[in-house]
């Protein structure tokens, strides 16, 4: 029997578009646009100038701040421009544009061969930092920071988040199927850095093939593969921890408060590459999908490839899309142009047709209570939306637990009045932050 959590919704998973498609490695793009900010934390500053020749894997932007992550060239070639470019998360951001020389040459010394078992945890962590590893599920929190809990927080369990609960996305699923050894190695390295003996892989039961493959790959390692009920948001960090360990991350707390660290599938692959081969995070597997895409695929793409280039590799559009989203349909961000680049957190490029993206007109809340039942955080989402609508931002924060909302979107999905609850939640959060900043 699989285990579950309170609340949640069951959207049609739409994974059939791309679940059966093996990962294809995209050809080296002629040009890449690499933003200097691809993570939560301090932005990086360029360390190259226009006209410089760079090699694949060379650091091109970095900063001394702890909560940050360096950025590397994803192709070899010439820096032709450093300027503001559209960014999938931040709107616009300074980016380094590199034109390929066609050689796709590694920076000297890469790739190399290292045995992680012989390396000290602190050195492993430094390798992970230097490789620019960040959380690749979309949040892009620097991985080395997540692996550095304060000493009073004793970590006892590492969880690999292989739930991939967002509809449409299949990148993690394919990675699990095609490179289970790398995934398991990444998990073991992470466990060594954290100093924990218990490792768990949580995976939704709609991926039985991956469960089987992982069970074989983890045999003898002590890592347990736990099938999870297929329900959104199974892969949200807090619900995942609740389901696997039975513990609830306290309100306002972090997973480390209950002794748990969670990493995404793409992230552990990047960790393994960083440690075993010395390869920095310059490419990732991304699902290009949606009803508008001619031939949905799982692509291994260089960071800095534009959405347009990736979609072209999938045969372009068979129907005009009305929405292009970075990430999945539940928490992804709608884009205004196809010129945004793939960044470290781009798990999917979703192109929705008019029919798929039809969200209907927003109506008044009829208090049906579906959002309350769907909320995995035990909030009253309808009230948050009403308070947001009436500019009662402080009431939302103080009386209706605004800050506990994880913006999973379950409430909006299930709402018969089609209320944009997450929109109001984000508005309330931003307004409260602005008020706090003013004081």
């Amino acid at each position: 029997m699989t285990i579950s959590f309170r609340g949640g919704v069951h959207p049609n998973d739409c994974k059939g578009y791309s679940a059966g498609k093996a990962i294809e490695t995209a050809p080296v793009p002629a040009k890449v646009i690499i933003p200097t900010r691809q993570h939560i934390g301090a932005p990086c500053s360029p360390v190259v100038k226009v006209g410089d020749l760079v090699k694949k894997g060379q650091v091109i932007a970095e900063t001394q701040a702890f909560v940050s992550s360096p950025i590397h060239a994803s192709i070899s070639g010439k820096v032709v421009e450093i300027a503001d470019y559209p960014h999938p998360v931040f709107g616009t951001c300074m980016a380094i544009v590199i034109e390929s020389d066609g050689n796709d040459e590694w920076v000297e010394g890469l790739p190399l061969q290292r045995d992680w078992k012989a390396i000290e945890p602190a050195d492993l962590k430094e390798m992970i930092r230097q490789a620019g590893t960040v959380g690749m599920g979309g949040a892009t929190f620097p991985t080395h920071v997540k692996m550095s809990p304060p000493p009073e927080k004793k970590i006892h369990t590492f969880i690999l988040n292989a739930a991939e609960c967002e509809p449409y996305l299949t990148a993690d699923h394919r990675v699990l199927l095609e490179m289970p050894e790398t995934v398991v190695a990444g998990c073991l390295i992470t466990m060594k850095v954290l100093g924990v003996a218990k490792g768990v892989i949580g995976i939704e039961e709609n991926k039985p093939d991956a469960i089987e493959v992982l069970r074989k790959a983890t045999a003898g390692t002590g890592i347990e593969v736990v099938p999870l009920k297929t329900k959104y948001p199974q892969g949200a960090e807090k619900t995942l921890i609740r389901v696997i360990t039975g513990q609830e991350v306290p309100s306002g707390g972090l997973p480390m408060d209950v002794g748990v660290v969670v990493q995404n599938v793409g992230t552990v692959v990047a960790i393994s590459n960083a440690v075993e081969k010395g390869i920095p995070l310059i490419e990732r597997v991304t699902t290009v999908t949606g009803g508008a895409v001619a031939e949905p695929k799982n692509l291994r793409l260089r960071i800095g490839t534009t959405f347009g280039q990736a979609i072209e590799l999938c045969g372009g559009f068979k129907e005009t899309p009305v929405k292009i989203i970075m990430g999945g349909p539940m928490m992804g961000m709608a884009q205004r142009t196809m010129d945004v680049p793939i960044i470290k957190g781009t798990s999917g490029i979703l192109c929705l047709t008019a029919a798929e993206a039809d969200i209907g007109p927003e109506r008044p809340c009829i208090r049906c209570g579906r959002c309350v039942e769907a909320c995995p955080m035990g909030l009253i989402p309808s009230m948050l939306s009403i308070l947001g609508e009436r500019n009662e931002f402080q009431v939302a924060k103080e009386e209706y637990d605004l800050l506990d909302c994880v913006e999973c979107g379950s409430c909006v999905y299930t709402c018969p009045a089609k209320r944009n609850i997450v929109h109001y939640v984000k508005l309330c959060k931003a307004q409260n932050a602005a008020m706090a900043a003013k004081k």
Binding site: R6, P11, P167, K238, R242, E248, V249, P250, S251, G252, G253, A294, E312, L313, G316, F317, T320, P321, V322, K323, I324, I325, P329, M330, G332, M333, A334, Q335, R336, M338, E356, A357, I359, G360, R363, P364, C365, I366, C368, G369, V372, E373, C375, M377, G378, L379, I380, S382, D404, E407, Y413, T414, C415, P416, A417, K418, N420, V422, H423, K426
Partner: protein
């Protein structure tokens, strides 16, 4: 292939996540509730004849027209197609005597939509169930007409059709034994009540048809089973305990459950999502309270029936219940 691939895009829509919605809508919920009430409404026509049809048409038409004109006047989007005004009219018609003079349901529908719904801000903002406000308004304005029940023999023309008194009215004025004698024997009484061959408001009589409709709504997830179960259960227990002449637990719970407007109220009006608490725990409190008030009015109040006022009174405390009963926040346990 890629050379000829299409990359044209129109204007891209940008909005907050999530980007997909389930296929439920307000209109779908409202029209489903309307649909499951149709059998009981048709039964009222079968029972009470053309006057019942006339009352239904008046209530629905005037409700929708009132909503249309108010929205037109206020320059708001016209939403009469979403089925909610239709539902208010339908429920009002089912809650009043079928043969009532035509102008009374006209006034009632205007009161329900105009006063109870739109002075509060329209759909979603009303504190009280509009149909019940309409009914209460009429009961206060025309107490005689509102309690003059037709003989349920319109097209049924049964020789032994019951006369123009409701079972609860007989129970109140003449006592339990008189009521049983009125129907013949006990099992005849239960059968009559269950099928609906009895006096009463137009659409409240047929317990079986209302139950079937209510069960379908539960199956579809449009109403929570806890509400009708708790409300009906509370009435059953209280009338069983205190409703008899021979001391504690000599009352007839089944009679009390099947008569009056309890089934209609518990399945279709105590479940009106706009006017009841939003959490299931709150809804249970609401339902038990409505059941207790119904029993109180029936047993010691001046009226034979109390479902309407009981639900309206509980509507008053819904905001209070919602303040006090909250879901347990994630991470707050222990």
């Amino acid at each position: 292939m890629s050379a000829e691939s299409k990359l044209e895009i129109g204007t891209l829509a940008v909005s907050t996540s999530p980007h997909i919605r389930c296929d439920e809508s307000i209109a779908k919920i409202m029209w489903t509730v309307n649909a499951v009430l149709v059998p009981a409404a048709l039964f009222s026509i079968y029972q009470f004849g053309l006057p019942a049809l006339r009352t239904l048409v008046i209530c629905i038409a005037v409700s929708m027209a009132t909503e249309y004109f108010i929205q037109k006047w206020q320059d708001k989007p016209i939403t009469i197609n979403d089925g909610s005004a239709f539902l208010t009219g339908l429920l009002l018609a089912m809650n009043i005597p079928a043969t009532i003079p035509w102008y009374i349901p006209v006034v009632g529908s205007i009161a329900a939509i105009g006063i109870a719904k739109h002075t509060m801000g329209g759909l979603g903002y009303n504190i009280f169930n509009p149909a019940l406000i309409g009914r209460a308004f009429l009961l206060a304005s025309w107490p005689i007409a509102m309690t003059t029940w037709p003989t349920p023999a319109g097209w049924a023309s049964k020789v032994d059709a019951v006369t123009a008194a409701t079972p609860l009215g007989i129970l109140k004025l003449q006592g339990y034994d008189a009521l049983v004698k009125f129907f013949g024997d006990k099992s005849d009484m239960y059968l009559s009540l269950f099928i609906g061959t009895r006096g009463g408001s137009a659409g409240e009589t047929s317990a079986v048809l209302l139950l079937l409709g209510g069960l379908y709504l539960i199956y579809r997830g449009y109403i929570n089973w806890q509400i009708p179960v708790c409300m009906i259960g509370t009435v059953g227990i209280i009338t069983w305990a205190f409703g008899g002449n021979g001391g504690l637990f000599t009352g007839d719970p089944l009679l009390n459950i099947l008569s009056g407007g309890l089934i209609l109220g518990a399945f279709f009006m105590a479940t009106d999502m706009v006017t009841i608490p939003i959490t299931i725990k709150g809804q249970i409190i609401f339902a038990v309270g409505a059941g207790a008030l119904t029993s109180l009015i029936r047993l010691i109040g001046g009226y034979p029936e109390g479902v309407c006022y009981a639900i309206l009174l509980m509507n008053c405390v819904t905001p209070l219940i919602d303040r006090l009963v909250r879901p347990v926040k994630f991470g707050a346990r222990r």
